[in-house]
């Protein structure tokens, strides 16, 4: 068995003061609540604010997802809700698209119109809790429009809504695809971010290392990629869109994947806080202290959940949840015991939420801020992962930054290499996974867990509903608003499309129509899969 960090640094049997020689408490750590925030943002840790305890929902119809969201509230979800979109809306294409209809409601909620969002949120408060909508860069523009349109319709004060709904433009390098080209995604990221910031809408944009890491990236790479993305995207908002960094700093939220390498995961989060604080202060010259706080939520790693002996995953989730809690975070949504089989069953969801409550209420972990600070090992690991991450980040900058590195295929190659390395380590027994390469049992002896799934007929039902509903819309309003959007999308990239996207969404234009029209205006095919023709003519 390897005794190395997941990024290949040897681990010794004992750590002593020599391993952290030169560590300056005030400069490198600071008290909790003090720059460089290695020890967290709150002087009293979780006594000031407990993390948001949530589960990611989304499967089947919007009505079904709404029911599950209410169920989560009843079984211990606190502080916020989190929904993930289905595969069709991720592109985005509509639920009645020839391919989209086969995957409507698969792995998420089918959010391809404002109608779906209305059904999703029915009876669920928009304020007083964070509303987090996970999707892709392109569909994020629709989600921001849904929030604005829905708030207006319901008479909710937009400034009282907080959460996240937009997304970074690189996810399709990490197996979280949308089908849009990088330049369009970058434009949509900038448009949505600028619109939210200028209109003081407290919806954040996901700039995540989680997708990268779940695809295989190691802890040092994940930090490097996250910092390179933050650096470039925040830089663009300041330079290209003329925004103040102190406003931009309130935009990103990072979802960290917490794996099973307990001490390394904690070190990674501590290093991330320090790296962001330094970037904010030293490069972007942040004027507000708050701008040095990167909002960090935790997702316990789905990748570490095994197909074999799924009950073992309860133990893994508990360890990872504890690591996330010790590391200090704003929110946790944890993986579930059935993660390698299907979307969370009610039993699995309950177990995961219970795990968060056990960690919060029984272990004492919420009593003390950053309890592992000063551990020779943890401080060494924090320094080390940061040092390795800076090396990789510097390489990305040498290539011209994140966008350039993606265009050159450097990031994709990094993920590919990491995927293969992970597999090799388990195959060779260098990394042990209980139930897989140690203490394995024949499949027929394995414990049967309940499985929640979407059937082909469920997807077809969602598709047919959309088909029928589309005919009932006021088509004059739909066409007028899309015509405006088409004209705007032909203007230069800096022209913000959010106002016309919002108008189109209010007229119940669908995600496929909105994105299709934008694509067409930019000289792309209306349908990314070239299966349907543009039903509108604007020329």
């Amino acid at each position: 068995m390897k005794r190395e960090t997941d990024y290949g640094q040897p681990i010794k049997a004992v750590y002593t003061p020599k391993d952290i020689e030169g560590l300056d408490y005030d400069k490198d750590l600071g008290d909790p609540g003090k720059y460089p925030y290695t020890r967290g943002y709150y002087p009293n840790g979780y006594r000031s604010r407990l993390w948001t305890q949530r589960m990611t929902a989304g499967l089947g119809s919007s009505v079904e997802t709404n029911r599950v969201l209410k169920e989560y509230r009843d079984i211990g979800q606190r502080g916020g809700m989190c929904v993930i979109c289905d595969r069709s809306f991720a592109i985005p294409i509509d639920s009645d698209h020839p391919i989209g209809r086969k995957e409507a409601g698969v792995l998420g909620w089918p959010g391809s119109s404002l109608l779906e969002f209305e059904e999703l949120m029915d009876g669920i408060p928009m304020t007083g809790q964070s509303v987090t909508l996970l999707s892709t860069c392109a569909s994020g523009a629709l989600q921001l429009a849904y929030i604005v349109a829905y708030a207006e319709k319901k008479g909710v004060n937009l400034s009282e809504i907080h959460g996240a709904g937009m997304s970074y433009p690189f996810a399709n390098c990490f197996g979280q695809s949308d089908y849009q080209p990088l330049d369009l995604n970058v434009k949509l990221f900038l448009d949505t971010s600028e619109y939210a910031i200028r209109n003081k809408i407290k919806m954040r944009s996901a700039i995540l290392s989680q997708h990268f890491q779940e695809a295989g990236g190691n802890n040092a790479q994940a930090l490097a990629v996250e910092m390179a993305m933050l650096n470039e995207l925040c830089g663009l908002l300041v330079k290209d869109r003329g925004l103040d960094f102190d406003d931009v700093a309130a935009l990103p939220f990072e979802l960290v994947s917490i794996g099973i390498r307990f001490f390394e995961e904690i070190a990674k989060m501590r290093a991330l806080r320090r790296m962001w604080a330094k970037l904010a202060k030293e490069k972007f010259k942040a004027k507000k202290e708050k701008s040095c706080h990167l909002l960090i939520a935790v997702h316990t790693s789905g990748r570490t959940m095994t197909y074999q002996q799924p009950l073992n995953n309860i133990v893994r989730t508990a360890i990872e949840t504890l690591a996330g809690a010790i590391a200090g975070c704003t929110a946790i949504d944890n993986a579930t015991l059935d993660n390698a089989h299907a979307e969370p069953s009610p039993l699995a969801a309950r177990m995961s939420l219970n795990t968060q409550h056990i960690v919060a209420d029984e272990t004492g972990v919420t009593d003390v801020a950053d309890p592992l600070a000063g551990s020779y090992f943890v401080e060494y690991l924090t320094n080390k992962v940061e040092e390795e991450a800076y090396k990789i980040w510097n390489k990305i900058e040498e290539l011209g930054g994140m966008i350039a590195a993606v265009k050159k295929g450097y990031i994709q190659e990094m993920v590919r290499g990491a995927m293969l390395e992970r597999y090799k380590e388990v195959q060779s027994g260098d990394r042990l996974v209980i139930g897989v390469n140690k203490l394995a049992i024949p499949p027929e002896e394995d414990f049967e867990i309940p499985i929640k799934e979407v059937k082909a007929e469920d997807s077809e039902k969602i598709a047919r509903r959309m088909e029928e509903w589309k005919k009932t819309r006021n088509m004059r309003l739909v066409v007028e608003s899309l015509s405006q959007l088409y004209g705007d999308a032909k203007k230069e990239d800096r022209y913000n499309l959010m106002p016309s996207i919002i108008e189109a969404v209010k007229a119940y234009a669908t995600a496929g129509e909105v994105m299709g029209v934008i694509r067409k205006a930019r000289g792309l095919s209306y349908d990314p899969f070239n299966m349907i023709e543009c039903p509108f003519s604007f020329e």
């Binding site: 592109i91 995957e103 698969v106 499985i451």
Partner: protein, 139 residues
Amino acid sequence: MDKGRRIKVIISMIGLDDHIVGGVVVSKILRDAGMEVVYLGTYQTPEMIVQAAIQENVDVIGISSHGSNYSQIAELMDLLRKKDMKDILVICGGTIPKKQIPKLQEKGVAQVFAPQSTSESIVNYIVSNVKGADGGPNK
């Protein structure tokens, strides 16, 4: 098939499934075992996969799957049957719930590999079940 020809395999995701880890890893395993791999990548419809299988004249189709879009695997099997391409060995791998496995096998899928299956088990299965290839049962 030609005697002594390398085993040729398509590895693909199906439909809108964009989880590529399994497909990337298995492609590497099969190449390392001396097979020729045509990696189709993401966003492949059943029709596109069958078309590629005809064009490339492959012995095996491997579908990497994450998430419940199994109806598209069933469609792929129907298409292969219609085109009388029954000789092609179809295998699947990924986070496929156990109760789906017999349904897929009923449709003609030869074998379903769980996540973290060993490279040995995948390679051996292909070598001993591919129709008429090196070391195959028809030789």
